[in-house]
């Protein structure tokens, strides 16, 4: 039984050590982030812009798709509500699943191209 108590004691102590170290780790990097956020406000913005420039095609695409999503959510919600003429309390558009994620992005781009070329 000595052995049993020993295993249990070592076990719980190691668990506490590991989890306490995680606490310290989180505190450390959280405060680093906060500190960096205050100190480098402007630098950070710059970096973001640079990133965007280095990869213009994909970035713009992404931004666009996010905008579109928001727009679609808004439109559908509005449409449904306008038609209801009623209380919006019990209904929220929880999520709109954009099907066709699986369509290769270049197909979409191709379609856009064809559309634009028609204008």
């Amino acid at each position: 039984m000595d052995r049993a108590f020993n295993v249990a004691l070592v076990g719980i102590i190691v668990v506490f050590i590991v989890l306490v170290l995680i606490i310290l780790l989180i505190k450390l990097y959280s405060s680093l982030i906060t500190w960096a956020g205050k100190n480098k406000g402007n630098t950070a913005k710059k970096t973001t812009i640079e990133t965007k420039e280095s990869n213009p095609v994909s970035e713009s695409n992404h931004v666009m798709s996010v905008d579109n999503n928001m727009e679609i959510v808004a439109v559908i919600t509005a449409a449904v509500m306008a038609c209801m003429q009623g209380s919006s309390s019990s209904l929220r558009v929880r999520s709109i699943k954009r099907i066709g994620h699986t369509t290769p992005i270049w197909n979409i781009a191709g379609r856009n191209e064809q559309i634009l070329s028609k204008i």
């Binding site: 249990a8 076990g11 506490f16 590991v18 306490v20 170290l21 995680i22 606490i23 990097y29």
Partner: protein, 395 residues
């Protein structure tokens, strides 16, 4: 012609399950049906309990040949023999025996888990650690009973982790012969958390303590959430390499979720992949609870002991979490509601919801759920660490 016919029918009858069924088979079939009932009618953790119970049912219909315990009882295991003579469930069980399925389930769990409340309030980790007293207390209890080896005691103790995949993973490494009963006990008690915990919670806390409304958690930035799985993996695996499969996959899944750049992988990890693995894992773990395997002398007593020790594990874990919560209540001058301590046993998300419900009964304005999610997910990491420690020391 007629003789041949009679002979063929006779042979089929001798090869039928009725020719070999024993009382133990029958009892185990009935138990499997009870678990199916609990999974469906009572919604006891059905995602795993239903496959486990059905696997147990299939393994106890004699001569079905789906699972051959004798192939797994030898050491070293002869994988070539398993390929030649194994049934369907033997072959799927390879994923359990080789330690593949539980980490893949952890991948999916990681992809579904929000560690935000834990990052917002990292002290929750202390509660997640304290609740692991349930594991180590049960280990002492199991050793004290005297009818388990050290490895078996370790496997039984992990029931106190209140975390299914961790329990299956550790048991498949330390004491695979007890996999069926331990998995059944673990999932059953996890489902019973709303019944087991409230009386202990009420007994160990005062109404004043339960009424404490905690401060709202600070918002956690995306960057903090992304760094969490990476840094925790490095730290925990460096300290305790044995926990690598569980912790590594849990954190990879979480990184899929938080990075936001691999939505496809995130989606598959938390749906198709975890579901496929869950079906295979459940079926085969249940099938280890077969009469062929359990007919060894002394098993009845062992099974009974596991049931009692499992309840002990949950109760001790709950109590130690609560008591540590009380300690934090005193230390912080009443800012921490001790009820969130019981959520440290994991049993995600049931235990956190129990904290919420009990807290709200004491004070209808009390919303503890998010605060209890911290210890709750800390408990998952805590029991994975505990499993690593047990594997290191006993494996």
């Amino acid at each position: 012609m007629w003789n041949d016919f009679i002979f063929a029918i006779k042979e089929l009858a001798l090869e039928s399950g009725f020719a070999k069924i024993t009382l133990l088979h029958f009892v185990l079939i009935v138990i499997a049906c009870v678990f199916i009932y609990l999974a469906i009618a009572r919604k006891y953790e059905p995602l795993l309990l239903l496959p486990i119970a059905f696997g147990m049912l299939l393994a106890n219909l004699p001569l079905g040949g789906l699972m051959h315990p004798e192939l797994w009882d030898v050491s070293p295991i002869d994988y070539n023999l398993i390929l030649h003579n194994g049934g369907l469930l033997d072959l799927l069980y390879l994923g359990v025996k080789l330690g593949i399925f539980p980490p893949l389930i952890f991948l999916g769990i990681g992809a579904m888990t929000d560690f935000g409340p834990l990052i917002a309030n990292p002290k929750s980790f202390l509660l997640g650690a304290a609740a692991q007293f349930g594991i180590f207390g049960t280990f002492i209890g199991a050793m004290a009973l005297g009818n388990f080896t050290e490895k078996q005691a370790g496997a039984i103790a992990i029931i106190g982790g209140a975390d299914g995949p961790t329990a299956i993973w550790l048991t498949s490494k330390l004491a695979p012969e007890l996999l069926g009963p331990i998995a059944l006990a673990a999932y059953s008690y996890m489902a019973l958390v709303p019944i087991i915990q409230p009386p202990i919670m009420k007994a160990l806390t005062t109404k004043k303590e339960r009424e404490v409304v905690m401060e709202q958690l600070r918002p956690v930035s995306k960057l903090e959430k992304i760094l969490f799985p990476i840094l925790v993996s490095i730290l925990v695996i460096l300290i305790l390499p044995a926990a690598a499969p569980l912790v590594g996959m849990l954190m990879l899944g979480n990184l899929f979720k938080e990075s936001g750049v691999v939505e496809r992988l995130n989606e598959t990890a938390q749906n198709a992949l975890i579901n496929i693995v869950t079906i295979f894992l459940g079926l085969t773990v249940g099938a280890t609870a077969s009469a062929d395997k359990l007919s060894q002398p002394g098993f009845g007593l062992q099974a009974l002991s596991i049931i009692i020790l499992g309840l002990l594990a949950f109760s001790v874990g709950t109590a130690s979490g609560l008591l540590f919560g009380k300690l934090m209540y005193w230390a912080t001058g009443g800012k921490v509601n001790p009820l969130i301590g019981s959520a440290g046993v994991s049993a995600v998300p049931m235990a956190a919801r129990v904290s919420q419900v009990v807290g709200q009964k004491a004070n209808p304005q009390n919303f503890l759920l998010m605060h209890a999610m911290g210890p709750n997910v800390a408990g998952v990491i805590g029991s994975a660490v505990a499993a690593g420690v047990l594997l290191s020391m006993l494996g």
